[in-house]
Amino acid sequence: MRDAALKRDSFIKRNLTIIAPTLVFIVFFIIGGILFRNFFTLRVLLNLLTNNAFLGLAAVGMTVVIISGGIDLSVGAVISTTAMVIAVLDRSGVAAPLAIAIAILFATGLGFLMGLMIQYFEAPPFIVTLAGMFFARGLGYVLSLSSIPVKGPFYHAMSTAGLRFEGGAKLTVPAMIFLFVVLVTWYLLKYTKFGRTCYAMGGNEQSAFLMGLPVPRTKVLIYTFSGFCSGIGGLVYVFFTLSGYGLAAIGLELQAIAAVVIGGTLLTGGFGSVIGTLMGVGIRGTIQTFITFQGELNVYWTPIFVGLLLFLFILLQKAFVAGTKLGK
C-alpha cells in the first residue's frame, strides 16, 4: 500500500507541470460557467481552440525551443509574413497548394537559417531570433503595408468547413490543425530520439554533447521545427481571417512564451510538455473570454491578468524547482 502511495506521489510529481495547468484551466472554466450564462458549453470550448489556434501553433514550436533551453522571438513575425506571402501569391493567381507550400517553405527555411546561426556562430538565440523577427517583419512590410484580402475558393472553403455539433458548436479546420500538431509534437517529444535530445540539451547541453547525443543537428532542427510551426500558424491565420497583414500578430511571441510558462514548461529548459502548453493557451483564452462575457471590463485587463498569472506560475515553478532540486 505504501508502494502504491509512493508510486502515486511520483506520478503526480513527474506530471505536476501538466496537472497544475490542467486543473487551473478546469477551475477557470467552471468559474466561468457559474458566473456567466452560456459559458459552460461545448461551443465556448471549441471557439477557444479556433480563436487561439495560430497563437497555439506558435506556442507549440516555442515549447520545443524552450525545453531545449533556447528562445524564439520570431514566431509572431513569421506567422504574419507567412500569411502575407500566401495572400500575395493568391492575389497573383498562384494555385493554393503551391502558394501554401512556398509560404511554409519560407517559414521553415528561416527557422533553419536561424538554427544554423545559433549553432555554428555560437550566437545567443535571443539576438538571432530577434534579427529573424526584424527580417520577417521587414519582408512583410515590403510585400505590402496594407491588409490584403485572400479570395481563393480553397481558403474560403477551409474557413467555413468543420465538424458541427449541437448548440452551434463547431470544430473548425484551424482547431483541427492545432490539435493535430499538438499530438504530433507530443509524440515527437515523448517517444523519439529528437525529443529526448531536446530534454537532455535543456538539462545540460554540454553533458548531452559528451553523452554522444547529436546536439548540433538537433539544435538546428529545433529552430527549423519552430519556424515550421509558425508557418502552419500563418496558414491557419489565413483560414481564420481570410487576409494577410504585415502588422498582424505583433507581440504574439511574448504571449506564446507566457502560454508556455503558464503551461508548466520550465524556462530554464529540460522540463515541460506540449500538453501543458495546450492548457496554457486555453487558460489565456479563457481569461480573454471572461472579459468578453463580463462586458464591462476593459479589454486592456487581458494582458494584466495574463501577466499576473504568469507571475504566479513563475513563483510556483520556483517553489517546485526548489522542492525537487531540479534546478542547478
Binding site: 534579427a131 521587414g138 519582408l139 512590410y141 476593459n298
Partner: protein
C-alpha cells in the same frame, strides 16, 4: 607642474585606450557618415531657421536621444549579465501617467483641454517615480526571487502595456501644456532639448560609474557573481540598482516621446524600443554575457542605428526596408563577434606571421 603633466598624459592614455576599445563601432559609424558625405546630397547641411539649427544631422540626433537614453540604462543591466525587455512598457506607463497628471485625471476622449497649469515638476516626479517602482519590481524579481532576467522582465512587459492602456482608457489623449511640450519639441541655444537630456543622463551615468565604485561593482557582478559576493559585494543591491536606473531611463524616454507628439497613445509609446536598445548596446561592443561594458560604445551604437535609418530615409529607400537593414546589421555584428569567425581570422593572421618569419 610635473604632476599635472603626468595627469595629462594619464588622461590622454586613458582616452586612447577608450577609443581603442570602441574602434570597430567607431569605424562603422565613420564609414556610414563617409558614405553620406560622398553620396547623399545635403546630409551635413545645417541651416538656421527661427534661431534653431535645422538639417538631417539635427533630426538624427534628436531622434536618437530617447533611444540612446533607454540604451544607456540597458547597458548597465546587460553589464550585470541581465536583460530588461520591459523598457518599452515602462516608457508607456511613464508617458501615459504624465499626460494623465497634466489632464488632471480626465480621460474623456477628445475633450477640449484648457492650457494645463499643473507644475511640470510634479508631472515629471510622478512619471519617473512610477518608472523607478517598475524598475524596483524587476530588480527584486531578478535579485531576490532569482528569476532569470528575460522572464522576470517579461512579466512587466506583458502587464505594463495593459496598465498604460488602462491609464489612458485606450484612447490617444492630447493635452496642452507648453512647459511639458518643450521637453520634446523645444530648443535651447539652437539645439533640441532631447539632446541636452540625453547628454545630461550620459554624464550622470558616466560619473556614477567612473567616479564611484558602482562601475567596478557592476562589472564584477556581471563577471562572476559568486566571486564578487564572496569578496564582499552586495550583488543583490547592485542588481536592484541597475534595474531601477534602467526603469528611470525608460521613464525619461517615455516623457520625451509623449512631449514630442503632444499626446499619449499607450499602445505605441516605446513599442519595440527594447529591441533597438539591446541592438545599440550589442553593436557598441558590450558583451551579452555581462562583465564588460562601454557607455561610449552604446552612444556610438545608438548613433549607428539612427544614422543608418536616417540615411535610408534621406536616400528615399522605402520605410519598410529599414527593418530588413536592421536585421542585416545584427547578423553582420553577430558574425564578427562569433568565436568561430574570430578563430578563423586569428589563424590566418598567425599563418601570415609564421610565413613572414620563415
Amino acid at each position: 607642474m610635473n604632476k599635472q603633466l603626468q595627469q595629462g598624459g594619464d588622461f590622454s592614455a586613458r582616452l586612447a585606450a577608450g577609443i581603442k576599445s570602441i574602434q570597430w563601432p567607431l569605424i562603422a559609424l565613420g564609414m556610414i557618415l563617409l558614405f553620406n558625405l560622398i553620396f547623399t546630397e545635403g546630409f551635413f547641411e545645417i541651416s538656421i531657421q527661427n534661431g534653431r539649427l535645422v538639417g538631417s544631422l539635427m533630426d538624427l540626433l534628436k531622434r536618437a536621444a530617447p533611444r540612446l537614453i533607454v540604451a544607456l540604462g540597458m547597458t548597465l543591466v546587460i553589464a550585470t549579465g541581465g536583460i530588461d525587455i520591459s523598457v518599452g512598457s515602462i516608457a508607456a506607463i511613464a508617458g501615459a501617467l504624465a499626460v494623465l497628471v497634466i489632464r488632471g485625471g480626465d480621460i474623456t476622449y477628445l475633450a477640449t483641454q484648457d492650457t494645463s497649469t499643473v507644475s511640470i515638476l510634479l508631472v515629471i516626479l510622478v512619471a519617473l517615480s512610477a518608472a523607478a517602482v517598475c524598475g524596483l519590481f524587476n530588480g527584486l524579481l531578478v535579485s531576490v526571487v532569482k528569476i532569470q532576467p528575460i522572464v522576470a522582465t517579461l512579466i512587466l512587459m506583458v502587464t505594463g502595456r495593459g496598465m498604460a492602456m488602462l491609464f489612458t482608457g485606450g484612447y490617444v489623449l492630447n493635452y496642452d501644456h507648453p512647459g511639458y511640450k518643450s521637453l520634446g519639441v523645444g530648443d535651447w541655444l539652437g539645439l533640441p532639448i532631447p539632446i541636452y537630456i540625453a547628454i545630461f543622463i550620459l554624464i550622470v551615468l558616466a560619473v556614477l560609474t567612473n567616479r564611484t565604485p558602482l562601475g567596478l561593482l557592476i562589472q564584477s557582478t556581471g563577471g562572476n557573481e559568486t566571486a564578487s559576493r564572496y569578496s564582499g559585494t552586495n550583488t543583490t543591491l547592485v542588481r536592484i540598482l541597475v534595474y531601477v536606473i534602467a526603469g528611470v531611463c525608460s521613464g525619461v524616454a517615455g516623457i520625451i516621446f509623449t512631449a514630442d507628439v503632444q499626446s499619449a497613445d499607450a499602445a505605441f509609446i516605446g513599442l519595440w524600443i527594447e529591441l533597438e536598445a539591446i541592438l545599440a548596446v550589442v553593436i557598441g561592443g558590450t558583451s551579452m554575457a555581462g562583465g564588460r561594458y562601454s557607455l561610449a560604445g552604446t552612444v556610438v551604437g545608438a548613433l549607428i542605428i539612427q544614422t543608418l535609418i536616417t540615411t535610408l530615409l534621406t536616400r528615399a529607400v522605402p520605410v519598410q526596408f529599414t527593418l530588413i537593414f536592421q536585421a542585416a546589421v545584427v547578423v553582420v555584428v553577430l558574425m564578427l563577434q562569433s568565436p568561430r569567425v574570430k578563430e578563423m581570422t586569428f589563424k590566418r593572421r598567425a599563418r601570415k606571421e609564421a610565413s613572414t618569419h620563415a
